[in-house]
Structures are given as C-alpha cells and as structure tokens.
C-alpha cells in the first residue's frame, strides 16, 4: 500500500502559467510535508515544507497548501519558468522519527 500518492506523473505547462501538483497520504501520524526538486544527475533539493499545524506556506513563486481533514497537500508554482523544469517529489514524515516517505514524483516541463 503506497503511503504517499502523487499526481500527475508528468505535466507540461507554458511559461508564465501556473503549475499545480498534488499529493495524498495515508498515515495520520505524518506531521511534516516537504517538497523536493530534482534536476537530472543531481540529488533532490528541499524546495518548501509545511508542518501539519499550518494550512499554507509561501516562498516566492512557490506555495504549498495542506488539508489535514482530507490528508492532501498541493504545490502551486505561479509564473512558471523553463528553469522550473525538473522532477518534483512530495514527501511525508513524523518528526519524531525523521523517516521520509516519498511519492513517485511529477516530471514538470515548462515550455517557453
């Protein structure tokens, strides 16, 4: 049973558009939800994260939303740029253990 589900698997948007990625999770003890960005040949890099006590966190063009009741989260990228083209992973953990469970990722392509 996959504990973190991510959609879509791939997504193409035009430059300047808004990207929306979504995740759902099963384990109600998860309380920390990071999003990672990965470029080819590199390790994942933390993009933005949110704790379960919050429902929204913003960092520049990137915003993550969290819905505890529905066990869902999303990542919104406004004014998407070709440089945003990468694979994005959502993940979840309980901060007591620090063990992250990852979704399968979304390959984002931003076309100029």
């Amino acid at each position: 049973q996959q504990q973190v589900r991510q959609s879509p698997q791939s997504l193409t948007v035009w430059e300047g558009g808004t990207t929306v990625l979504t995740c759902s999770y099963e384990d109600s003890t998860f309380n920390y939800f990071p999003w990672y960005q990965q470029f080819p040949g590199e390790g994942p890099a933390l993009l933005i994260s949110i704790l379960s006590v919050s429902d929204k966190k913003e960092d520049g063009r990137f915003t993550t939303f969290f819905n505890k009741r529905e066990k869902k989260l999303s990542l919104h990228i406004i004014d998407s740029q070709p440089g945003d083209s990468a694979t994005y992973f959502c993940a979840a953990s309980n901060t007591n253990t620090g063990k992250l469970t990852f979704g399968d990722g979304t390959v984002l392509t931003v076309k100029p």
Binding site: V4, Q6, Q9, Y32, P34, Y36, G41, E42, G43, P44, A45, L46, S49, L51, F89, A91, S93, T95, N96, T97, G98, K99, L100, T101, F102, G103, D104, G105
Partner: protein
C-alpha cells in the same frame, strides 16, 4: 561547499561481488539515511542511522547492510551484489529536531552486471 558528499559517483560491479558506497556529511546532523531511486519511482529508504554506532532498517533493507562509524560517515554495503540492485543511491543527513529537513548528496549510479 557540498555538505553531503558521496563516493564513488559511478560504479560498475559484477554479480556476487561486494560493493561499498560511502557518504560523508559536514552538517553535524545526527541522522543519516540511504535511499535508492529507480526510474519512475520516488526514493525508497534502505537504512538509516540516529548517530555513530547505530543503524536501523528502512523500508527495503534486504540485501543491504549499513555502517555508521562516526558522526560524519555512513556506508552502504552490498555483500553479494545482484543486477536487481542496479540503481541510483542517495545519501542524506538530517536533524528531526530542526523540523525534519533532509539534505541529499549527489548520488551514486551503481550498475551490477
């Protein structure tokens, strides 16, 4: 300066051979992790450690051992490598008390022939 480094970056091994992947971190984090990443999948946790001398099994530990001889170093050991272990391996360090962030190395691409 990269805070999590891995060596080697690429490795070709033969079936049945022993492979050791090394990871070093300068973040002074207590926790370190080993993941594998296969095409079309997210990262899956193999082993992790809460500090020097400790190792814990992750979600997919079969066929792997881990060693944490010091705060800075964490190794992943494949005693008898198999082609199914061909993958990209990532090491990470983190401090749960700091919010849960993990910082990843650049990865090791392992091919087992």
């Amino acid at each position: 300066e990269a805070a999590v480094t891995q060596s080697p970056r690429n490795k070709v091994a033969v079936t049945g051979g022993k492979v050791t992947l090394s990871c070093n971190q300068t973040n002074n984090h207590n926790n370190m992790y080993w993941y594998r990443q296969d095409t079309g999948h997210g990262l899956r946790l193999i082993h992790y450690s809460y500090g020097a001398g400790s190792t814990e099994k992750g979600d997919i530990p079969d066929g792997y051992k881990a060693s944490r001889p010091s705060q800075e170093n964490f190794s992943l050991i494949l005693e008898l490598a198999t082609p199914s272990q061909t993958s990209v391996y990532f090491c990470a360090s983190g401090d749960p008390t700091g919010g849960g962030e993990q910082y990843f190395g650049p990865g090791t691409r392992l091919t087992v022939l």
